[in-house]
Protein backbone atom coordinates (compact mmCIF):
# COMPACT_ATOMS: atom_id res chain seq x y z
CA UNK A 1 0.00 0.00 0.00
CA UNK A 2 1.45 3.36 -0.96
CA UNK A 3 1.42 5.84 1.88
CA UNK A 4 -1.34 8.40 1.77
CA UNK A 5 -3.77 6.32 -0.28
CA UNK A 6 -6.05 3.85 1.41
CA UNK A 7 -7.80 1.45 -0.92
CA UNK A 8 -11.59 1.88 -0.88
CA UNK A 9 -13.41 -0.40 1.54
CA UNK A 10 -14.89 -3.42 -0.21
CA UNK A 11 -18.47 -2.87 -1.38
CA UNK A 12 -19.63 -5.81 0.67
CA UNK A 13 -18.12 -7.72 3.56
CA UNK A 14 -20.04 -10.57 5.14
CA UNK A 15 -18.39 -12.32 8.07
CA UNK A 16 -19.62 -15.43 9.84
CA UNK A 17 -23.25 -14.71 9.04
CA UNK A 18 -25.61 -17.26 10.56
CA UNK A 19 -29.37 -16.95 10.73
CA UNK A 20 -32.31 -18.95 12.01
CA UNK A 21 -35.90 -17.97 11.29
CA UNK A 22 -38.22 -17.39 14.26
CA UNK A 23 -39.76 -20.83 13.64
CA UNK A 24 -36.35 -22.39 14.31
CA UNK A 25 -35.45 -23.21 10.71
CA UNK A 26 -31.78 -22.36 10.27
CA UNK A 27 -31.02 -20.97 6.81
CA UNK A 28 -27.44 -19.70 7.06
CA UNK A 29 -24.57 -21.39 8.90
CA UNK A 30 -21.69 -18.90 8.84
CA UNK A 31 -21.35 -17.20 5.47
CA UNK A 32 -18.14 -15.34 4.60
CA UNK A 33 -18.13 -13.26 1.45
CA UNK A 34 -16.20 -10.20 0.33
CA UNK A 35 -17.02 -8.34 -2.86
CA UNK A 36 -14.54 -5.69 -3.95
CA UNK A 37 -15.69 -2.41 -5.41
CA UNK A 38 -16.58 -2.66 -9.10
CA UNK A 39 -16.70 -6.47 -9.13
CA UNK A 40 -19.54 -8.44 -10.70
CA UNK A 41 -20.18 -11.62 -8.74
CA UNK A 42 -22.76 -14.32 -9.33
CA UNK A 43 -24.30 -16.04 -6.31
CA UNK A 44 -25.23 -19.54 -7.41
CA UNK A 45 -27.04 -22.20 -5.49
CA UNK A 46 -29.90 -24.68 -5.60
CA UNK A 47 -33.38 -23.80 -4.39
CA UNK A 48 -33.52 -23.53 -0.63
CA UNK A 49 -29.81 -22.85 -0.28
CA UNK A 50 -30.44 -19.61 1.59
CA UNK A 51 -29.81 -17.19 -1.27
CA UNK A 52 -32.84 -15.00 -0.59
CA UNK A 53 -32.17 -15.06 3.16
CA UNK A 54 -28.64 -13.83 2.51
CA UNK A 55 -29.90 -11.07 0.20
CA UNK A 56 -32.39 -9.82 2.81
CA UNK A 57 -29.52 -9.50 5.29
CA UNK A 58 -27.60 -7.19 2.99
CA UNK A 59 -29.91 -4.24 3.61
CA UNK A 60 -31.00 -5.16 7.10
CA UNK A 61 -34.52 -6.47 6.36
CA UNK A 62 -33.49 -9.61 8.19
CA UNK A 63 -30.95 -9.55 10.98
CA UNK A 64 -30.91 -8.75 14.64
CA UNK A 65 -34.49 -8.33 15.80
CA UNK A 66 -36.12 -10.82 13.42
CA UNK A 67 -35.10 -14.32 14.27
CA UNK A 68 -31.66 -15.08 15.67
CA UNK A 69 -28.60 -14.09 13.74
CA UNK A 70 -24.89 -13.89 14.29
CA UNK A 71 -22.06 -12.35 12.30
CA UNK A 72 -21.67 -9.01 10.59
CA UNK A 73 -22.45 -7.42 7.25
CA UNK A 74 -20.66 -4.26 6.18
CA UNK A 75 -21.48 -2.19 3.12
CA UNK A 76 -18.55 -0.03 2.03
CA UNK A 77 -17.29 -0.18 5.58
CA UNK A 78 -20.61 0.72 7.18
CA UNK A 79 -22.00 -1.99 9.47
CA UNK A 80 -25.59 -2.99 8.71
CA UNK A 81 -27.61 -2.36 11.83
CA UNK A 82 -30.43 -0.32 13.28
CA UNK A 83 -28.28 2.81 13.53
CA UNK A 84 -27.46 3.19 9.85
CA UNK A 85 -30.49 1.51 8.32
CA UNK A 86 -31.53 4.40 6.07
CA UNK A 87 -28.02 4.89 4.71
CA UNK A 88 -27.51 1.14 4.24
CA UNK A 89 -30.74 0.87 2.28
CA UNK A 90 -29.64 3.68 0.03
CA UNK A 91 -26.28 2.00 -0.59
CA UNK A 92 -27.66 -1.47 -1.28
CA UNK A 93 -30.03 -1.53 -4.24
CA UNK A 94 -32.04 -4.75 -4.35
CA UNK A 95 -33.90 -5.59 -7.55
CA UNK A 96 -36.53 -8.14 -6.64
CA UNK A 97 -37.56 -10.98 -8.87
CA UNK A 98 -41.08 -9.86 -9.73
CA UNK A 99 -41.07 -6.34 -11.16
CA UNK A 100 -44.74 -5.98 -10.20
CA UNK A 101 -43.64 -6.12 -6.58
CA UNK A 102 -40.92 -3.58 -7.14
CA UNK A 103 -42.92 -1.08 -9.18
CA UNK A 104 -45.70 0.08 -6.90
CA UNK A 105 -46.31 3.65 -8.00
CA UNK A 106 -48.83 4.73 -10.67
CA UNK A 107 -46.22 5.83 -13.22
CA UNK A 108 -42.65 4.87 -14.07
CA UNK A 109 -41.40 8.35 -13.24
CA UNK A 110 -42.95 8.40 -9.78
CA UNK A 111 -41.63 4.94 -9.07
CA UNK A 112 -38.06 5.84 -9.96
CA UNK A 113 -38.44 9.02 -7.91
CA UNK A 114 -39.66 7.15 -4.84
CA UNK A 115 -36.27 6.17 -3.40
CA UNK A 116 -34.46 9.48 -3.92
CA UNK A 117 -37.51 11.43 -2.70
CA UNK A 118 -37.64 9.31 0.45
CA UNK A 119 -34.00 10.27 0.91
CA UNK A 120 -34.99 13.94 0.74
CA UNK A 121 -34.33 14.96 -2.87
CA UNK A 122 -36.79 17.49 -4.35
CA UNK A 123 -37.51 19.60 -7.39
CA UNK A 124 -35.09 19.84 -10.30
CA UNK A 125 -32.43 17.71 -8.65
CA UNK A 126 -34.97 14.91 -8.29
CA UNK A 127 -36.09 15.22 -11.91
CA UNK A 128 -32.47 15.04 -13.08
CA UNK A 129 -31.78 11.94 -11.01
CA UNK A 130 -34.87 10.21 -12.38
CA UNK A 131 -34.03 11.09 -15.98
CA UNK A 132 -30.45 9.89 -15.62
CA UNK A 133 -31.48 6.59 -14.05
CA UNK A 134 -34.03 5.93 -16.80
CA UNK A 135 -31.49 6.82 -19.50
CA UNK A 136 -29.00 4.34 -18.07
CA UNK A 137 -31.48 1.50 -18.67
CA UNK A 138 -32.80 2.92 -21.96
CA UNK A 139 -36.31 3.63 -20.68
CA UNK A 140 -36.34 7.44 -20.64
CA UNK A 141 -39.14 7.70 -23.21
CA UNK A 142 -41.49 5.60 -21.09
CA UNK A 143 -41.31 7.81 -17.98
CA UNK A 144 -44.99 8.74 -17.95
CA UNK A 145 -46.49 5.33 -18.62
CA UNK A 146 -48.01 3.16 -15.93
CA UNK A 147 -45.82 0.12 -15.17
CA UNK A 148 -48.49 -2.41 -16.11
CA UNK A 149 -48.54 -1.14 -19.69
CA UNK A 150 -44.88 -2.11 -20.21
CA UNK A 151 -43.55 -5.46 -21.38
CA UNK A 152 -42.01 -7.75 -18.79
CA UNK A 153 -38.47 -6.98 -19.96
CA UNK A 154 -39.14 -3.25 -19.84
CA UNK A 155 -40.55 -3.56 -16.34
CA UNK A 156 -37.44 -5.41 -15.20
CA UNK A 157 -35.26 -2.61 -16.64
CA UNK A 158 -37.37 0.03 -14.89
CA UNK A 159 -36.95 -1.96 -11.67
CA UNK A 160 -33.17 -1.68 -12.14
CA UNK A 161 -33.58 2.07 -12.70
CA UNK A 162 -35.54 2.47 -9.47
CA UNK A 163 -32.53 1.35 -7.47
CA UNK A 164 -29.93 3.01 -9.73
CA UNK A 165 -31.63 6.32 -8.95
CA UNK A 166 -30.41 5.93 -5.38
CA UNK A 167 -26.78 5.76 -6.56
CA UNK A 168 -26.17 2.48 -4.76
CA UNK A 169 -22.76 1.16 -3.76
CA UNK A 170 -23.84 -2.34 -4.75
CA UNK A 171 -26.63 -3.60 -6.97
CA UNK A 172 -28.18 -6.89 -5.85
CA UNK A 173 -30.26 -8.66 -8.47
CA UNK A 174 -32.54 -11.57 -7.59
CA UNK A 175 -32.88 -13.87 -10.62
CA UNK A 176 -32.50 -11.03 -13.14
CA UNK A 177 -33.00 -13.21 -16.22
CA UNK A 178 -36.12 -15.10 -15.07
CA UNK A 179 -39.11 -14.89 -17.41
CA UNK A 180 -37.23 -12.84 -19.99
CA UNK A 181 -37.25 -13.70 -23.68
CA UNK A 182 -33.78 -13.96 -25.28
CA UNK A 183 -33.86 -10.42 -26.65
CA UNK A 184 -34.86 -8.84 -23.31
CA UNK A 185 -32.25 -11.01 -21.64
CA UNK A 186 -29.55 -9.66 -23.95
CA UNK A 187 -30.79 -6.08 -23.49
CA UNK A 188 -30.63 -6.43 -19.71
CA UNK A 189 -27.12 -7.91 -20.00
CA UNK A 190 -26.06 -4.88 -22.07
CA UNK A 191 -27.48 -2.57 -19.42
CA UNK A 192 -25.77 -4.39 -16.56
CA UNK A 193 -22.42 -4.45 -18.39
CA UNK A 194 -22.61 -0.69 -19.03
CA UNK A 195 -23.02 0.15 -15.33
CA UNK A 196 -20.01 0.98 -13.24
CA UNK A 197 -21.39 -0.32 -9.96
CA UNK A 198 -20.62 -3.43 -7.96
CA UNK A 199 -23.09 -6.19 -8.84
CA UNK A 200 -24.13 -9.26 -6.89
CA UNK A 201 -26.38 -11.41 -9.03
CA UNK A 202 -28.41 -14.25 -7.52
CA UNK A 203 -29.23 -16.73 -10.25
CA UNK A 204 -29.84 -20.27 -11.50
CA UNK A 205 -29.08 -19.15 -15.01
CA UNK A 206 -25.52 -20.43 -15.33
CA UNK A 207 -24.81 -19.22 -18.90
CA UNK A 208 -25.98 -15.75 -17.83
CA UNK A 209 -23.62 -15.83 -14.85
CA UNK A 210 -20.79 -16.89 -17.15
CA UNK A 211 -21.60 -14.10 -19.58
CA UNK A 212 -21.75 -11.32 -16.99
CA UNK A 213 -19.78 -12.27 -13.90
CA UNK A 214 -16.08 -13.11 -13.93
CA UNK A 215 -16.40 -14.47 -10.38
CA UNK A 216 -18.98 -16.77 -8.83
CA UNK A 217 -19.68 -18.13 -5.39
CA UNK A 218 -21.79 -21.21 -4.68
CA UNK A 219 -24.09 -21.04 -1.68
CA UNK A 220 -25.24 -24.47 -0.62
CA UNK A 221 -26.66 -25.70 2.66
CA UNK A 222 -26.27 -22.26 4.20
CA UNK A 223 -22.50 -21.92 3.63
CA UNK A 224 -20.28 -20.74 0.79
CA UNK A 225 -19.26 -24.02 -0.79
CA UNK A 226 -17.10 -22.64 -3.57
CA UNK A 227 -15.67 -19.32 -4.68
CA UNK A 228 -13.71 -18.80 -7.86
CA UNK A 229 -13.67 -17.87 -11.51
CA UNK A 230 -17.07 -18.57 -13.01
CA UNK A 231 -15.73 -20.61 -15.91
CA UNK A 232 -13.62 -22.84 -13.66
CA UNK A 233 -16.55 -23.49 -11.32
CA UNK A 234 -18.90 -24.35 -14.16
CA UNK A 235 -16.36 -26.73 -15.67
CA UNK A 236 -15.96 -28.61 -12.37
CA UNK A 237 -18.62 -31.25 -13.02
CA UNK A 238 -18.16 -32.94 -9.64
CA UNK A 239 -18.75 -29.66 -7.75
CA UNK A 240 -21.72 -28.80 -9.91
CA UNK A 241 -23.38 -32.15 -9.36
CA UNK A 242 -22.81 -32.00 -5.61
CA UNK A 243 -24.76 -28.74 -5.37
CA UNK A 244 -27.58 -29.53 -7.80
CA UNK A 245 -26.35 -27.01 -10.34
CA UNK A 246 -27.02 -28.15 -13.88
CA UNK A 247 -26.06 -26.60 -17.15
CA UNK A 248 -28.65 -26.34 -19.91
CA UNK A 249 -28.64 -29.09 -22.50
CA UNK A 250 -25.79 -28.79 -24.97
CA UNK A 251 -24.03 -25.97 -23.14
CA UNK A 252 -20.30 -26.43 -22.69
CA UNK A 253 -18.80 -23.69 -20.50
CA UNK A 254 -15.27 -24.57 -21.56
CA UNK A 255 -16.07 -23.84 -25.20
CA UNK A 256 -16.84 -20.17 -24.55
CA UNK A 257 -14.27 -17.44 -24.37
CA UNK A 258 -15.26 -15.05 -21.63
CA UNK A 259 -13.97 -11.53 -21.30
CA UNK A 260 -11.60 -11.44 -18.34
Amino acid sequence: MTPGTTPPAPSLEVEGLAYAYPDGHQALFGVDLTVARGERVALLGPNGAGKTTLVLHLNGILGAGSGSSAGTVRVAGLPVGKRHLAEVRRRVGIVFQDPDDQLFMPTVREDVAFGPAAAGLRGEELDDTVRRALERVGMAEHADRPPHHLSFGQRRRVAVATVLAMEPEILVLDEPSSNLDPASRRELADVLRSLDVTVLMVTHDLPYALELCPRSVVLSGGVIAADGRTQELLCDTELMRRHRLELPFGFDPSSVTVPV
Binding site: E110, F114, A117
Partner: protein, 253 residues
Amino acid sequence: MGSGHTHKLYRHGTSPVHGMPPHCKIAAVFGFVLVVVSTPREAFWAFGAYALLLAGVAAAARIPPGFLLKRLLVEVPFVAFALLMPFVAEGPRTEVLGVQLSVSGLWGAWNILAKGTLGVAASVLLASTTELRALLLGLQRLRMPPLLVQIASFMIRYGDVIADEMRRMRIARASRGFEARGIRHWGVLGKTAGALFIRSYERGERVHLAMVSRGYTGTMPDLHTVSATRAQWAHAAALPAAALAVCLIGWTL
Protein backbone atom coordinates in the same frame (compact mmCIF):
# COMPACT_ATOMS: atom_id res chain seq x y z
CA MET B 1 -60.31 -1.62 -12.29
CA GLY B 2 -57.20 0.49 -12.34
CA SER B 3 -56.28 2.24 -15.51
CA GLY B 4 -59.15 0.53 -17.25
CA HIS B 5 -61.56 2.42 -15.04
CA THR B 6 -59.53 5.59 -15.34
CA HIS B 7 -60.09 5.53 -19.06
CA LYS B 8 -63.75 4.64 -18.75
CA LEU B 9 -64.69 7.37 -16.30
CA TYR B 10 -62.30 10.04 -17.41
CA ARG B 11 -62.94 11.95 -20.60
CA HIS B 12 -59.80 13.52 -21.91
CA GLY B 13 -60.02 17.21 -22.74
CA THR B 14 -58.40 20.59 -22.38
CA SER B 15 -61.34 22.68 -21.18
CA PRO B 16 -61.05 25.22 -18.34
CA VAL B 17 -62.79 22.69 -16.09
CA HIS B 18 -60.21 20.02 -16.92
CA GLY B 19 -57.38 22.42 -16.19
CA MET B 20 -58.61 23.42 -12.75
CA PRO B 21 -56.55 22.10 -9.79
CA PRO B 22 -58.15 18.88 -8.52
CA HIS B 23 -58.55 19.96 -4.91
CA CYS B 24 -60.54 23.06 -5.97
CA LYS B 25 -62.89 20.86 -7.98
CA ILE B 26 -63.36 18.40 -5.13
CA ALA B 27 -64.12 21.21 -2.70
CA ALA B 28 -66.56 22.79 -5.19
CA VAL B 29 -68.47 19.53 -5.74
CA PHE B 30 -68.60 18.88 -2.02
CA GLY B 31 -69.91 22.39 -1.34
CA PHE B 32 -72.47 22.08 -4.14
CA VAL B 33 -73.79 18.76 -2.80
CA LEU B 34 -74.05 20.18 0.72
CA VAL B 35 -76.08 23.13 -0.55
CA VAL B 36 -78.34 20.87 -2.62
CA VAL B 37 -79.20 18.55 0.24
CA SER B 38 -80.02 21.45 2.54
CA THR B 39 -82.52 22.96 0.09
CA PRO B 40 -86.20 22.61 1.14
CA ARG B 41 -87.86 19.94 -0.99
CA GLU B 42 -90.89 22.11 -1.64
CA ALA B 43 -88.82 24.55 -3.74
CA PHE B 44 -89.23 22.75 -7.06
CA TRP B 45 -87.85 25.61 -9.10
CA ALA B 46 -84.58 25.58 -7.07
CA PHE B 47 -83.75 22.06 -8.24
CA GLY B 48 -84.34 23.15 -11.81
CA ALA B 49 -81.89 26.00 -11.24
CA TYR B 50 -79.28 23.56 -9.87
CA ALA B 51 -79.69 21.37 -12.92
CA LEU B 52 -79.15 24.41 -15.13
CA LEU B 53 -75.98 25.26 -13.19
CA LEU B 54 -74.62 21.75 -13.75
CA ALA B 55 -75.56 21.92 -17.42
CA GLY B 56 -73.52 25.11 -17.60
CA VAL B 57 -70.49 23.36 -16.06
CA ALA B 58 -70.91 20.43 -18.46
CA ALA B 59 -71.00 22.83 -21.39
CA ALA B 60 -67.86 24.58 -20.15
CA ALA B 61 -66.15 21.19 -19.80
CA ARG B 62 -67.40 20.19 -23.29
CA ILE B 63 -68.98 17.03 -21.94
CA PRO B 64 -71.73 15.94 -24.35
CA PRO B 65 -75.16 15.52 -22.66
CA GLY B 66 -75.44 11.92 -23.91
CA PHE B 67 -72.21 10.97 -22.15
CA LEU B 68 -73.39 12.56 -18.92
CA LEU B 69 -76.82 10.89 -19.05
CA LYS B 70 -75.30 7.47 -19.70
CA ARG B 71 -73.02 7.84 -16.67
CA LEU B 72 -76.06 8.82 -14.58
CA LEU B 73 -77.34 5.24 -14.93
CA VAL B 74 -75.28 4.23 -11.87
CA GLU B 75 -78.07 5.85 -9.94
CA VAL B 76 -80.70 3.31 -11.04
CA PRO B 77 -80.59 1.02 -7.95
CA PHE B 78 -81.27 4.00 -5.69
CA VAL B 79 -84.05 5.25 -7.92
CA ALA B 80 -85.72 1.86 -7.60
CA PHE B 81 -85.76 2.32 -3.85
CA ALA B 82 -87.17 5.85 -4.15
CA LEU B 83 -89.97 4.60 -6.42
CA LEU B 84 -91.06 2.14 -3.75
CA MET B 85 -91.49 4.81 -1.10
CA PRO B 86 -94.94 6.19 -2.14
CA PHE B 87 -96.36 2.65 -1.87
CA VAL B 88 -94.92 1.65 1.49
CA ALA B 89 -94.80 4.92 3.48
CA GLU B 90 -97.41 5.65 6.19
CA GLY B 91 -99.60 8.73 6.63
CA PRO B 92 -102.41 10.40 4.67
CA ARG B 93 -103.06 9.01 1.21
CA THR B 94 -103.88 10.55 -2.10
CA GLU B 95 -105.07 9.04 -5.33
CA VAL B 96 -102.99 9.27 -8.52
CA LEU B 97 -104.37 7.57 -11.63
CA GLY B 98 -106.53 5.37 -9.45
CA VAL B 99 -103.65 4.17 -7.23
CA GLN B 100 -103.54 4.94 -3.50
CA LEU B 101 -100.23 6.63 -2.71
CA SER B 102 -98.79 8.05 0.51
CA VAL B 103 -98.32 11.82 0.48
CA SER B 104 -95.21 11.76 2.67
CA GLY B 105 -93.88 8.90 0.56
CA LEU B 106 -94.29 10.96 -2.59
CA TRP B 107 -92.42 13.85 -1.02
CA GLY B 108 -89.69 11.51 0.20
CA ALA B 109 -89.31 9.91 -3.23
CA TRP B 110 -89.10 13.30 -4.92
CA ASN B 111 -86.54 14.43 -2.34
CA ILE B 112 -84.25 11.44 -2.88
CA LEU B 113 -84.67 11.47 -6.62
CA ALA B 114 -83.94 15.17 -7.12
CA LYS B 115 -81.08 15.51 -4.64
CA GLY B 116 -79.54 12.15 -5.54
CA THR B 117 -79.58 12.87 -9.25
CA LEU B 118 -77.98 16.28 -8.77
CA GLY B 119 -75.30 14.83 -6.49
CA VAL B 120 -74.51 11.99 -8.89
CA ALA B 121 -74.42 14.38 -11.83
CA ALA B 122 -71.94 16.63 -10.02
CA SER B 123 -69.74 13.63 -9.16
CA VAL B 124 -69.89 12.34 -12.73
CA LEU B 125 -68.76 15.75 -13.95
CA LEU B 126 -65.88 15.69 -11.47
CA ALA B 127 -64.83 12.18 -12.48
CA SER B 128 -64.99 12.84 -16.19
CA THR B 129 -62.88 15.99 -15.99
CA THR B 130 -60.31 14.81 -13.45
CA GLU B 131 -57.95 11.86 -13.75
CA LEU B 132 -58.12 9.31 -10.95
CA ARG B 133 -54.51 10.02 -10.11
CA ALA B 134 -55.21 13.77 -9.88
CA LEU B 135 -58.25 13.13 -7.70
CA LEU B 136 -56.02 11.35 -5.19
CA LEU B 137 -53.53 14.21 -5.23
CA GLY B 138 -56.42 16.59 -4.65
CA LEU B 139 -57.67 14.59 -1.69
CA GLN B 140 -54.14 14.52 -0.31
CA ARG B 141 -54.00 18.27 -0.71
CA LEU B 142 -57.28 18.60 1.17
CA ARG B 143 -55.65 16.83 4.12
CA MET B 144 -57.37 13.50 3.70
CA PRO B 145 -55.52 11.03 5.99
CA PRO B 146 -52.40 9.97 4.03
CA LEU B 147 -52.99 6.32 4.85
CA LEU B 148 -56.32 6.36 2.99
CA VAL B 149 -54.73 8.09 0.01
CA GLN B 150 -51.97 5.47 -0.04
CA ILE B 151 -54.47 2.63 0.10
CA ALA B 152 -56.45 4.14 -2.76
CA SER B 153 -53.37 4.64 -4.92
CA PHE B 154 -52.29 1.03 -4.35
CA MET B 155 -55.76 -0.05 -5.44
CA ILE B 156 -55.22 1.81 -8.70
CA ARG B 157 -51.79 0.31 -9.21
CA TYR B 158 -52.61 -3.28 -8.30
CA GLY B 159 -56.21 -3.57 -9.49
CA ASP B 160 -55.03 -4.63 -12.93
CA VAL B 161 -52.41 -7.00 -11.57
CA ILE B 162 -54.96 -8.77 -9.39
CA ALA B 163 -57.63 -8.81 -12.10
CA ASP B 164 -55.05 -10.38 -14.38
CA GLU B 165 -54.27 -13.02 -11.78
CA MET B 166 -57.99 -13.72 -11.45
CA ARG B 167 -58.27 -14.08 -15.22
CA ARG B 168 -55.37 -16.54 -15.31
CA MET B 169 -56.98 -18.60 -12.55
CA ARG B 170 -60.27 -18.66 -14.45
CA ILE B 171 -58.52 -19.81 -17.62
CA ALA B 172 -56.68 -22.49 -15.65
CA ARG B 173 -60.02 -23.70 -14.24
CA ALA B 174 -61.70 -23.68 -17.61
CA SER B 175 -58.75 -25.48 -19.23
CA ARG B 176 -59.33 -28.38 -16.90
CA GLY B 177 -62.95 -28.59 -17.85
CA PHE B 178 -64.54 -26.63 -15.02
CA GLU B 179 -67.59 -24.55 -15.66
CA ALA B 180 -69.56 -22.90 -12.87
CA ARG B 181 -73.11 -24.18 -13.21
CA GLY B 182 -75.12 -23.63 -10.13
CA ILE B 183 -74.69 -24.05 -6.44
CA ARG B 184 -72.63 -27.26 -6.50
CA HIS B 185 -69.72 -25.36 -7.97
CA TRP B 186 -69.67 -22.53 -5.49
CA GLY B 187 -67.16 -24.41 -3.36
CA VAL B 188 -64.60 -24.25 -6.18
CA LEU B 189 -65.23 -20.56 -6.73
CA GLY B 190 -64.89 -19.96 -2.99
CA LYS B 191 -61.54 -21.73 -2.92
CA THR B 192 -60.39 -19.69 -5.89
CA ALA B 193 -61.32 -16.51 -4.07
CA GLY B 194 -59.42 -17.74 -1.01
CA ALA B 195 -56.33 -18.53 -3.08
CA LEU B 196 -56.54 -15.13 -4.72
CA PHE B 197 -56.76 -13.47 -1.32
CA ILE B 198 -53.68 -15.30 -0.07
CA ARG B 199 -51.73 -14.52 -3.23
CA SER B 200 -52.64 -10.85 -2.98
CA TYR B 201 -51.73 -10.81 0.70
CA GLU B 202 -48.34 -12.32 -0.04
CA ARG B 203 -47.81 -9.86 -2.84
CA GLY B 204 -48.60 -7.12 -0.35
CA GLU B 205 -45.82 -8.41 1.85
CA ARG B 206 -43.36 -8.48 -1.04
CA VAL B 207 -44.33 -4.98 -2.12
CA HIS B 208 -43.83 -3.75 1.42
CA LEU B 209 -40.39 -5.35 1.44
CA ALA B 210 -39.50 -3.58 -1.79
CA MET B 211 -40.76 -0.29 -0.37
CA VAL B 212 -38.80 -0.66 2.85
CA SER B 213 -35.70 -1.51 0.79
CA ARG B 214 -36.00 1.85 -0.89
CA GLY B 215 -36.33 3.87 2.27
CA TYR B 216 -40.10 3.79 2.98
CA THR B 217 -40.75 4.78 6.57
CA GLY B 218 -44.53 5.13 6.64
CA THR B 219 -45.17 8.22 4.56
CA MET B 220 -45.08 8.62 0.82
CA PRO B 221 -42.67 11.30 -0.32
CA ASP B 222 -44.56 14.29 -1.61
CA LEU B 223 -43.65 14.33 -5.29
CA HIS B 224 -46.22 16.73 -6.65
CA THR B 225 -46.83 20.19 -5.47
CA VAL B 226 -50.27 21.00 -6.78
CA SER B 227 -51.21 24.49 -5.74
CA ALA B 228 -54.05 26.73 -6.74
CA THR B 229 -54.09 30.46 -7.27
CA ARG B 230 -56.70 32.73 -5.77
CA ALA B 231 -58.31 33.09 -9.22
CA GLN B 232 -58.62 29.33 -9.60
CA TRP B 233 -60.29 29.04 -6.22
CA ALA B 234 -62.66 31.85 -7.22
CA HIS B 235 -63.57 30.04 -10.47
CA ALA B 236 -64.17 26.79 -8.63
CA ALA B 237 -66.29 28.59 -6.03
CA ALA B 238 -68.65 29.92 -8.72
CA LEU B 239 -70.71 26.71 -8.75
CA PRO B 240 -71.32 26.29 -4.99
CA ALA B 241 -71.76 30.07 -4.53
CA ALA B 242 -74.46 30.26 -7.21
CA ALA B 243 -76.11 27.20 -5.71
CA LEU B 244 -76.01 28.78 -2.26
CA ALA B 245 -77.79 31.87 -3.59
CA VAL B 246 -80.52 29.67 -5.07
CA CYS B 247 -80.80 27.77 -1.80
CA LEU B 248 -81.15 30.92 0.30
CA ILE B 249 -83.88 32.23 -1.96
CA GLY B 250 -85.57 28.85 -1.65
CA TRP B 251 -85.63 29.15 2.13
CA THR B 252 -86.87 32.74 2.23
CA LEU B 253 -89.70 32.29 -0.31
